[in-house]
């Protein structure tokens, strides 16, 4: 197909060293009306400096409330190919591993029913199939699901859980991030596909405090691997790092946030009692240092983007939990949290915002969690606090 619309502004973005999304749209446009008109409409946006999409209406596949983002052009007459341009969110496999067969299977389906354009992947983690019309949603879903693929989350639902590469290819993963991601996804299929919460709920699983999935910043529940026990030191390897040019004093010891290390040019010492398991030393000397032996995870809750009262990061609600199948302790906790949220949450109120509004202590009480100093960076300042009946002398 030859290009339908002139795109002088976008053409500029075909130049330059970094891979170009414009080139990608153009490649798709060789076989796709959608992509043709997307180019046209996008060029118009570049010219007018404004989006030409309208709010999405409610579209989706039968029986699901989630998984599709409806999208309509506000200039459908000019660009009929994108009059409807709905996104299908396909739940990625944990860890973003694929075989080429699997990827081609998805491409085949999308070439047939959609724009030939994708995001690999969306920020939440889904395979984003970018743009099709309403009547194609059911066929796409039938094709996908019959081949073992399912849709991800959207709306006021569990959102597609995702994780770092974890034990699949990383020496620091303190629990099986992929398996847990898979199990959570399976366990909460209903909550994922049928929005019934006050707002969205995201899970992100990171194997250690390096947090390569940015879980602490963008998951209502952030599960971050950690350990108990002493960091294991291979002194020979430490000396090798030194030999190979690492300034262990400056790069490791002086940068340890707790100041719990020392190095005399021959031996590295760690006062493990003071280590806060930040991962710096281990990450920089991966051959020499290994995490303590008792592995598990810290559960944090509440992060989200800045709307409405500023961004939140997740905070500690369970300092340490062993994470092994069947994960019942974790699932129980999740359900207690949702109950609390269901009961008290307002429409469009994330769980973190709710806890901030109601008070973290109230949340702990209602979900049966014990207060622990790990939950706070520092105790409260002002001396106003609640007491319960049982604390009062009558």
């Amino acid at each position: 197909m030859s290009q339908k619309h002139e795109t002088p502004l976008l053409d500029e973005l075909e130049k330059g060293a970094f891979p170009s999304f414009v080139k990608e749209i153009k490649r798709a446009a060789e076989h796709s009306e959608y992509a043709q008109d997307l180019l046209g409409q996008l060029e118009l946006s570049y010219k007018e400096k404004v989006t030409h999409w309208k709010h999405g209406g409610i579209v989706g596949v039968r029986g699901y409330g989630a998984g599709v983002i409806g999208r309509y052009s506000d200039v459908p007459d000019k660009f009929p190919g994108v009059a409807h341009f709905h996104t299908v969110r396909v739940n990625q496999p944990a860890g973003f591993f694929y075989t080429t067969d699997a990827l081609r299977e998805i491409c085949d389906i999308w070439d047939k029913y959609g724009s030939r354009l994708t995001n690999m992947h969306g920020s939440t983690g889904d395979i984003i199939l970018l743009g099709t019309k309403t009547e194609n949603l059911e066929p796409v879903f039938a094709e996908l699901s019959s081949r073992g693929w399912d849709l991800g989350g959207s709306g006021s639902a569990v959102r597609t859980p995702s994780c770092c590469v974890g034990p699949a290819r990383c020496e620091w993963s303190c629990y099986d991030t992929l398996e847990l991601t898979y199990q959570i996804t399976q366990r909460f299929q209903d909550e994922l596909h049928r929005p019934m919460f006050p707002y969205k709920f995201k899970f992100k699983m990171a194997g250690c405090a390096v947090d390569c999935i940015a879980s602490i910043a963008r998951a209502d529940m952030s599960i971050i691997g950690t350990w108990k026990g002493n960091i294991q030191i291979d002194q020979e390897e430490v000396r090798n790092y030194a030999k190979n040019g690492m300034d262990i004093q400056a790069e490791i010891v002086d940068m340890c946030p707790t100041g719990c290390m020392s190095w005399d040019g021959n031996e590295l010492k760690i006062n493990d009692e003071d280590c806060n398991r930040c991962m710096h030393c281990i990450a920089k000397m991966t051959k020499a240092l290994r995490q303590g032996e008792e592995k598990g995870a810290t559960i944090l809750l509440g992060s989200k983007a800045p709307i409405v009262t500023g961004a939140l990061m997740s905070w500690v609600i369970v300092p340490f939990i062993k994470l092994e199948p069947p994960y019942e302790e974790l699932f129980d906790l999740v359900e207690r949290i949702w109950e609390f949220w269901d009961e008290h949450g307002k429409n469009r109120e994330r769980v973190g915002e709710l806890i901030e509004r109601m008070g973290f202590p109230v949340f702990l009480k209602e979900t049966g969690l014990e207060p622990h100093p790990a939950m706070v960076k520092e105790p409260r300042r002002d001396p106003f606090f609640f007491w319960s009946e049982e604390d009062i002398e009558k």
């Binding site: 970094f18 404004v50 029986g63 591993f97 354009l117 290819r169 051959k287 709307i307």
Partner: protein, 357 residues
């Protein structure tokens, strides 16, 4: 469409184990260490001695199925059909056979793929939909990323930085992504209040949730019009009302633009995770190359490269030198808008007599 296969529901994604290369299956959870061999190649070594090489290439993320088929072809040739994507949307070719690494790298180079992103570098830019797909966008995302990375790509494939520098772009303050915790991030912002299309409000919007959506309580019901009204001086143009009520469009081509926030991080290494803070409140939307924005990012990045110690993330560097110094060394102007007048006001005003001249 009669030939449609039988649909299934609630099956969830395929189990990841179907897609793992054999060496990973065998050494799952038993990796010992890794080495970064070049900007785009690293090897992980298992306790068993087994190894896997990962070769990383940049992706624009918004890719055609042709792109996917291309990389599949390469993966078939060198990786027994195994590949993955990273959490920052790069492609990773997973090689089990050392002898295939170099040929793979060569073919990738030949075909013009950009190999890199590993180590203390700029990796891919986490970003969002923008004018490509979102009604909410105050700017484009893919275009900003391309404009930025065309200038910064050397830090992806060649040059090293004091530490990783995570870039992100979000096209509106909903901030899909991790702009609020990135080293340097761009976010599309409005500068003017929404316009109320009174006739549409009653059909399209629920008044109470529209009123409730406003962080500053600028919106109140306007019963006469069966609509809402805005106390203009209270509106700080967040667009949240437009998210819940389509009859309150806020896009304004002349005044929409891009803010730059800096100094966030999510890793726990050394310092705790940090939020990004405002460096530049507004720069014009100047597609296709947003030169003002790209320049400002380069200014910030260069000041960081100049000033930071090894392993020091951008936010750590700024914390060490102080924000007053950040404005000095970057030459960025300090404005009213930098001063918080919202949630974190109390925590961010300087309650101390110490600062640097």
């Amino acid at each position: 469409m009669s030939e449609l296969p039988q649909r299934q529901t609630d099956i969830g994604p395929p189990h990841y184990s179907k897609f793992l290369p054999p060496v990973i299956k065998e050494n799952y959870g038993k990796w010992k260490y890794h080495e970064i061999l070049s900007a785009g190649v690293m090897v992980h070594v298992a306790e068993s001695g087994a190894k896997i090489w990962s070769v990383r290439v940049a992706s624009p993320r918004l890719v055609s199925t042709d792109f996917i088929r291309d990389i599949c072809e390469i993966a078939d040739k060198y990786c027994d059909g195994h590949l993955r994507f990273t959490t920052r949307h790069n492609v990773e070719f997973l090689v089990s056979d050392e002898s295939k690494v170099e040929p793979l790298v060569n073919e990738l180079k030949e075909k013009g793929y950009m190999i890199g992103g590993i180590g203390d570098r700029i990796s891919n830019v986490v970003h969002t939909q923008g004018w490509v797909h979102c009604h909410s966008a105050a700017t484009d995302a893919s275009g900003l990323v391309k404009a930025l990375m065309d200038e910064l790509h050397e830090y992806f494939h060649t040059k090293e930085l004091p530490a990783k520098v995570r870039l992100a772009v979000a096209c509106c303050v909903n901030m899909c992504g991790a702009v609020h915790c990135s080293d340097i991030a761009l976010v599309g912002v409005h500068k003017t209040p929404p316009r109320i299309e009174h006739d549409k409000v009653k059909n399209l919007c629920e008044i109470p949730s529209t009123v409730a959506s406003c962080p500053t309580s600028a919106i109140s019901p306007d019963p006469a019009k069966k609509s809402v009204k805005i106390k203009l001086e209270k509106c700080m143009y967040c667009g949240n009302c437009y998210s819940v009520c389509p009859a309150m469009p806020i896009a304004d081509p002349k005044n929409d633009g891009v803010a730059i926030v800096v100094g966030g991080k999510v890793s726990n290494l050394r310092s705790n995770p940090m939020f990004s803070k405002l460096a530049v409140p507004w720069l014009p939307n100047n597609p296709p190359r947003w030169p003002e924005v790209v320049d400002a990012v380069k200014t910030i990045l260069n000041a960081y490269i100049e000033g930071a110690r090894k392993h020091e993330r951008l936010g750590e560097w700024v914390e060490r030198i102080g924000w007053e110094k950040f404005f000095k060394v970057t030459g960025l102007p300090f404005k009213m808008q930098h001063i918080d007048d919202f949630t974190f006001a109390r925590e961010t005003w300087r309650m101390a007599a110490t600062f640097k001249w």
